[in-house]
Symmetry: C3
Subunit: 201 residues, 3 copies
């Protein structure tokens, strides 16, 4: 049950973030749908690939695919003047997608009874994979490699789920809210991890 909810939330959020970035880059109508769809399903596909599940699992998600298409259509038709800071909204939706898919990926790995290290890797891959593919296709530096703390929140989600600290659905939803908030706070207050700067030649 919770699994389906996280898949739904993550798909909607990433589809919208991909669509927003495609519009920022002035992609055409079809480009917006392609980038939105790839962002929504890229993380799960990457995780399945590396975990060794048949990639065809991708094609059994007909309902989620329709959810993504509807989400992208809504955001494409959304009146421009109602949203003044598209880029900010793009990163906020990405934050929701990151958190929802990190938890979903971790639950997925726990279901397969993988060790805690694999649960964390699955959380990071599922949470950040779609966004990395999106940013590469848009010619941008992946969010995960920018200044504000990003993947740490996926690691944290994987750790908490992997340790079995969040067993009840309610607790998982709470975790989603907490992780998303932490990521958005990282953006607003420019929270960063240590950076070791070395001079380029």
């Amino acid at each position: 049950m919770a699994w389906d909810v996280f898949s739904f939330i993550g798909t909607v959020a990433f589809a919208i973030s991909g669509a927003i970035i495609a519009m920022e880059e002035e992609y055409d109508l079809l480009g917006v749908y392609i980038l939105g769809t790839v962002t929504a399903f890229g993380g799960g596909a990457l995780r399945n690939l590396l975990i060794g599940l048949p990639p065809t699992a991708l094609w059994s998600q007909g309902l989620l695919f329709q959810v993504a298409i509807v989400s992208i259509t809504i955001i494409f038709l959304f009146p421009n003047h109602l949203i003044t800071h598209w880029e900010r909204w793009g990163t906020y939706f990405d934050a929701v997608g990151l958190s929802a898919f990190a938890i979903q990926g971790a639950l997925f790995a726990v279901e397969l009874e993988l060790p805690i290290s694999a649960v964390i890797v699955a959380a990071v891959l599922t949470g950040s994979g779609g966004g990395i593919i999106r940013d590469l296709l848009a010619g941008r530096r992946p969010l995960v490699f920018r200044r504000e703390i990003y993947a740490v929140w996926a690691v944290l989600g994987g750790l908490f789920v992997g340790l079995g600290l969040f067993k009840y659905d309610f607790a998982l939803y709470l975790l989603l809210v907490v992780l998303t908030s932490l990521r958005i706070l990282s953006l607003i207050y420019h929270w960063t991890l240590p950076v070791k700067s070395i001079a380029k030649k």
Copy 2:
């Protein structure tokens, strides 16, 4: 039979487009061969991967591999002054590859008796996949995301083949000519789909 013809045409066209872009970017001899080969086989490999076929199918294409190598060699040795608009030729060859591989990918999916939606996805993936990988490796924005209509023609090819409208070989060859022409016309007359432009912050 038609399948082999489309594989042949697509391989030659994409190998040449990859080689031309590599030369534009001043890659060395081996770089030209690598980018040409990756462009020619990338789309099919991506499709097989996502459709769930063993990636090893890649290695049973020894003849096509030789065809690609020969095509790249010819274009590398081609007298510079005989072609004045290399970039234009690069996109024209890409148009042929897009159309040939879209049809080939669609025929492939029809053979596996996949539903029409999967036929279209296979057409788009096979038709545009090699070019996307090529452009990413060359540090360029993928053609599929540029202004002029691109993936629509692959969608159309997948739709027509999937609906069984083009059953005879002759009709399929006609479809190849039509799709390629439409793509080249898109380039010449700057046909575009609707774009929704939102201001970057």
Copy 3:
């Protein structure tokens, strides 16, 4: 035995090269670990994927994973002033990784009794794959496509190992030293393959 040694050397070298490039790009602490790890394991994962081995083989390398983490930690903590030319060191470590993984990939393919052509492809993929993924993620032109001779040395390694010219461990270690030296000499003396330059429109 030799196989394990080459895996070890390649993992350390590529992990360090990824970490150095991440630091040059001012990635944060976690970004340095992610890029270092992806560089160290990307080439082998790509090879396994294309050769048709289960991608899960990735997860049985627990020891190498720890080796990569330790290597990245050491380079991250390394006193800045002791290394004046980080970029140069980054390419030198990449040279070691290229050679070690080319030989390892070739040995791997020989073990599977693949034909000589596949041995060469495995050498090139394993040797250059991690670096290509690293450079794409860092938004750089892949080293393999830059001016100085790169992939040729992996081809040469694949050829020699495939022909069975280097059967004894000692000979293989010698080959590692020779290939690495040739790559570093290519950098220092700007050895290049023929380039055919065509004007961009």
